[in-house]
Amino acid sequence: MNNILVLPMVIPVLTGIILVFLRSFVRIQRWISFAAMIGIAGLSLYILNQIQAEGILHLNFGGWEPPYGILFVADSFSMLLVLTTSIITAICLLYAFSSISKERENMFFYPFVHFLVAGVNGSFMTGDLFNLFVCFEVMLVASYVLISLGGKKLQLKAAIKYVAINVLSSWFFLVAIAYLYGTVGTLNFAHLSQRIAEVGQGPLLTTISILFLLVFSLKAGLLLYFWLPGSYSAPPPAIAALFGALLTKVGIYAMLRVFTLLFYHEPTITHTIIGVMAGITMIGGSLGAIAYKDIRQVVSYNVVIAVGFILVGLAISTKTAMEGSIYYLVHDMIVKALLFLLAGTIIALTGTGKIDKMSGLIRNYPLLGWLFFIATLSLAGIPPLSGFIGKILVGEGAIETGSYVLLALAFISSIFVLYSLLRVFMNCFWGETIISEEDEVPLKRGLLIPCVLLGVGTALLGVGAESISTYVNDAANTLVNPNIYIQAILGDQK
């Protein structure tokens, strides 16, 4: 029956609603939020191990057999992401406890975070195309609110663009669903895959697949990332960290899912386009990362680079490359969260985001500096931190398939990552110390602990890459063999 599968989505929804009733009890809200996230993390770990034992799990809502009803599907890939999501959210919540203003906490901040997570987890787990749309909307609307929560001018400006672009992308999503439904008459992923395989992915279906590519690219920030830097630098750090860690990942996930499960028949067209887009994205991200002297901008463009990097794996689509992408995905979620939290902390301490207006912070805040340094190295794929293994595997895949241009871009972009963040590090933390000890704003432990946790996380994930290798391996295996998925869902029906 696997009713447990619904919990990663329903727990946050319910928690969110209950917290609405507990509006004035901020302290209770905090701890319930945190506990819920930890609970989901535990659950998803349990499910993840269950999958290793029993194969892909699924839950048919209302008991309706696929393809007629909606279902949640848990495979290693999705659960790995759900697990990471909940852990990261828990940590970001910890950060929020000491950084989010009382006003926001009173204005349903925690419920919105929970709804966001619900949408994210739902997107990871759903096995139905239209339900994916709905889950996206849950996530998006929550993110709309979070980005504007607080009502600052800058936030509102960014929110307008963010909302408009996402409304447009949601519209394209609906159009694509309409076309696909019109063509193959079903919505269930496994069934869609089966039907598409049956008639072959003709020109029309390929065109429709490119439309899906447009939709997910917008969400993932693949090539169409222009909305991202502005939006991610507007909200407070805890929210920005969640955005940086989670939102684009959902788009990436959807793209991986759709182009490995449904539209994998014409890789010379679709995957080539993805490859080109990934390449341009890495270039654009790299340029952006060194173009600005504002920490938030630098960090945001680093998100863009990572998107390109991860999707190189999809463009290549070998099992090794997929494993690399998955590793990198998990890694990026952790480190991006860390990076956004650090950037936020720095800005909070110095009151500016401009790197040439600060200097010598490491004397005032050594731990913060070292965490930033670790984040820098990790993002650049410097071993033994977590970015390393993904980088190697993607590289392997690229070489196996002769995608040398992508390989070059992927590896060179990591140098840009290093340079851009190093610049921030050296400008902010090194140099003459300009904050005297009297003027030093004390760094709250509540801000530091979450960063430390994430920093330890990236180190552990790098050193302990083996610990998740079984999951990653299984995840990639499912991605490159769509039949495993189809069998698990439709089973003996065909």
Binding site: Y68, K161, G182, G185, T186, I290, P384, F429
Partner: protein, 802 residues
């Protein structure tokens, strides 16, 4: 029991412990505590010398990421032994020296942590058998070097030097990683030993050459080969013990190590020969040429190091000729170049280490390293002077110092390679001995500069920061030990040859007969070409040194902005400027542009797909008939829609939008969708009400003020989008492939107990959608509430606007 893995781990462990220790014990002692690490490791390693010399190797594996074959495999053989001894040996001396060099006011714990990190990483590089693990440590050496260079991070130059070194060496490392992955792809193994064994099968592989070049790129950047050498002089911003240790004795030799390690893999190819040989020999020249013009003693030593590294590198290139020829009694002779390389590697570490420490003493005692301010120190610091003489003369290639021996072997190798015609050397080959000789002359000159400009001539106390004296004994121990080594190796070279060099040669030439790889080293080898060349070097060198003042101005012929350094600076600056220009040109922050990009992508990718894939098809045979009233209603909708574009007031536009909404409702009726019609109507009305509510707070809209051309572009995009949407829609209509699954829902009554199929789908079959949709609505609802109630102007202080 001692294992190499422990040797690698020990420095890391101690480094990890330092933060807990250093506050508890008096500061100066921390150096002594740290000193124990390399000393212990040196002793432990040294105990393996006899067995390694007899041909034993030690392999040990601890699993790390077995899934991907990435394991801690350590391999102790002759080659790694040399480096291991250098790292721990020079490490011990440098730490000893540093105890006296660094004042207790410095943040010593940082210093020693970095140093230990480096030591562990460096040991990891030389002992790793797994190429990916090797890479891990490789990058770690770059990072620890970065931290050490920027030890005085408040200085601008320190930061600059640190960044430069990191960028260059990490870039090289990334290239090397790509090369490693290629090697792995070819050979399917990550073990260097296995790669050595199997690579001969892949010499024709497409990836062979790229892999080789990429790995060499890694080696060249790390070993400061031309044109990547530019980071090394700037790295001299580090405290002198660091320069002595990392930037002359060990880290910069990691690239050398890599070349040596991969000589049996790639050395058989003539590209290897040419690239390694010629890059090395040119670096040798360029380094020595530039060293002469330096006025900062440390910079001089940096260029000298570059030059010496080039020498060693070129020797490895030349030695690979033996592999190219394959094992035979004739080809063995070429292995002597490699032998010389290894020998000089050791020698260089000794004399250069000593010289750096000498410069450190001068800097420490007198507060300057500027040659123009120095002079007459001989009387002031006699011991230092003695050490300087020993180091410099060794470097200049004079007897009775070890540098003489390896220099002779070098000349021998370049002369001999000239005789080799198999590698299509021809006339170009003559360049090797010529360049080598010129470089050696220049080397001689700068060695003289070090000694005579610093220690002889007039003493100028007024130019010094503080009046100095001979350094404390503790500071002199380390350089003295090295100086003693310089001399004793000259007298007992074959001890080194048999116990250290031969086993290393066996690792580099596994297919060769071990006994032939270690020639007897003797100071006197007859009146042969190399000796003539050396004599020539001395004569011309003395001459040039004495008229230095007269020819030094030729350096001014090179405009400073044409240097590689300014190229590097310009590249970084231009990268920032251009990328800023490019990024700002399309990241306008304007929603309209962003929407345009989306539409442009739709037009290109989806539209392009539609046309180029030939996806369009049209078949209206399955269409339902159209009645007159439907025509009229469609027309009404089109007119209403288009009129919105021309509406002069927002209210009109809203009303027209309402007309559309209501018309759609009647189409829903015509298409037999009562639930939809109901929902659509209510939602449309409420939406209109919302518009009206918000209009209260917003001004009436103005006319669009776009230029006609912009309007045309917009119109084109709009029409194109509409057209593509329609065309795909028509194609889908014509290309339906399957019956919809919804036939199943017609059993709604039996299955879900309802007669309203739509309602059964919403409430039962797809209730989950409905549930989430309510959640969406809920989020939007309280979202609106928060948006209105929480205003920045009213809200209190919070974290991000402090």
């Amino acid at each position: 029991m001692f294992t190499v893995i422990i040797a690698i781990m020990l420095p890391f462990l101690v480094a990890a412990l330092i933060p807990f220790f250093y506050k508890r014990i008096p500061r100066l002692h921390i150096g002594w505590f740290v000193l124990a690490v390399p000393v212990i490791l040196f002793i432990l390693l040294a105990r393996y010398i006899p067995s390694v010399a007899s041909g034993d190797t030690y392999l040990k594996t601890i699993e790390w990421i077995p899934t991907y074959g990435i394991n801690f495999s350590t391999y102790l053989d002759g080659l790694s032994m040399i480096f291991g001894l250098l790292i721990t040996g020079v490490g011990s001396l440098v730490i000893l020296y540093s105890i006296y060099y660094l004042s207790a006011r410095e943040s010593l714990h940082h210093f020693y942590i970095y140093l230990l990190l480096f030591m562990g990483a460096m040991l990891g590089v030389v002992f790793s058998d797994n190429i990916f693990v090797l890479y891990v440590f490789w990058e770690l050496t770059s990072i620890s070097s970065f931290l050490l260079i920027a030890f005085w991070y408040h200085r601008k130059n320190s930061r600059y030097g640190a960044q430069k070194s990191l960028l260059i060496t990490v870039s090289g490392g990334v290239a090397m990683l790509a090369g490693f992955i290629m090697v792995y792809t070819m050979t399917d193994t990550l073990s260097v030993r296995e790669i050595v064994m199997s690579m001969s099968d892949y010499t024709n592989h497409l990836l062979f050459l790229p892999a080789m070049l990429l790995i060499l790129l890694g080696a060249f950047t790390k070993s400061a080969q031309f044109p990547f050498h530019i980071w090394l002089p700037d790295a001299m911003e580090a405290p002198t013990p660091v320069s002595a240790y990392l930037h002359s004795a060990t880290m910069v030799k990691a690239g050398i190590y890599l070349v040596a390690r991969f000589t049996p893999v790639f050395g058989g190819d003539q590209v290897w020969f040419w690239v390694v040989g010629s890059v090395g020999i040119f670096t040798l020249f360029w380094g020595s040429f530039n060293a002469v013009r330096q006025v900062d003693l440390k910079a001089l030593l940096a260029y000298s190091t570059i030059s010496q590294l080039g020498l060693i590198m070129s020797l490895f290139g030349l030695g690979s000729a033996a592999l190219h020829l394959g094992y035979s009694s004739e080809s063995v002779i070429y292995t002597q170049a490699t032998f010389a390389a290894l020998f000089h590697l050791i020698n260089h570490s000794t004399f250069k280490g000593a010289l750096f420490m000498v410069v450190g003493i001068i800097d420490h005692e007198l507060g300057t390293r500027d040659i123009r301010k120095l002079g007459g120190l001989m009387a002031l610091m006699p011991i230092t002077f003695t050490i300087a003489i020993i180091g410099s003369f060794s470097m200049a290639g004079l007897p009775p110092f070890n540098g003489f021996l390896s220099k002779e072997m070098f000349f021998d190798a370049v002369v001999r390679i000239n005789e080799l015609d198999i590698l299509a050397i021809g006339n170009i080959g003559v360049l090797f001995p010529v360049v080598a000789w010129i470089a050696s002359v220049l080397t001689f000159v700068y060695c003289m500069i070090i000694v005579f400009k610093t220690f002889l001539g007039p003493y100028q106390p007024e130019k010094l920061e503080h009046i100095g004296q001979e350094a404390p004994v503790g500071m002199l121990i380390a350089p003295s030990v090295l100086a003693v080594l310089v001399v004793s190796i000259f007298f007992f070279p074959n001890l080194v040859g048999v116990y250290l060099l031969k086993p290393a040669m066996m690792s580099i030439f596994p297919t060769f007969e071990a006994t032939e790889l270690a020639p007897h080293i003797s100071a006197w080898h007859g009146w042969n070409t190399p000796l003539m060349m050396t004599i020539g070097v001395i004569i011309v060198g003395v001459l040039l040194f004495s008229i230095l003042r007269h020819w030094k101005p030729i350096y001014r012929l090179f405009p400073p902005h044409w240097s590689l350094n300014s190229l590097y600076n310009m590249m970084l600056m231009q990268a920032e400027i251009r990328s800023s220009e490019i990024t700002r040109s399309y990241m306008t922050g304007n929603l309209r542009d962003y929407a345009l990009y989306v539409y442009l992508f739709f037009f290109t990718a989806v539209g392009g797909g539609l046309f180029f894939l030939g996806a369009f098809s049209f078949d209206s045979s399955g269409n339902a008939p159209i009645r007159i009233y439907e025509w009229i209603l469609v027309l009404v909708m089109m007119i209403a829609g288009i009129s919105i574009l021309f509406a002069k007031s927002r209210l009109t536009a809203t009303l027209l939008n309402g007309v559309l909404g209501y018309s759609i409702a009647i189409f829903f009726v015509l298409f037999r969708a009562p639930d939809l019609a109901l929902t659509q109507l209510v939602v449309e009305t409420v939406t209109t009400a919302l518009f009206l509510l918000c209009f209260r707070f917003l001004p009436e809209w103005d006319r669009e003020t776009y230029k006609p051309k912009t309007k045309m572009v917009h119109a084109f995009i709009a029409i194109a989008t509409g057209t593509i949407v329609t065309l795909i829609g028509l194609s889908v209509q014509s290309g339906k492939m399957f019956e919809s699954i919804s036939v199943y829902f017609e059993n709604a009554y039996e299955l879900a107990g309802g007669n309203n199929i739509v309602n059964a789908i919403l409430g039962d079959f797809r209730a989950f959608d409905t549930m989430l949709e309510v959640v969406v609505l809920f989020i939007a609802g309280i979202g609106v509430f928060t948006l209105i109630k929480l205003k920045a102007s009213r809200g209190g202080q919070d974290i991000e606007n402090k």
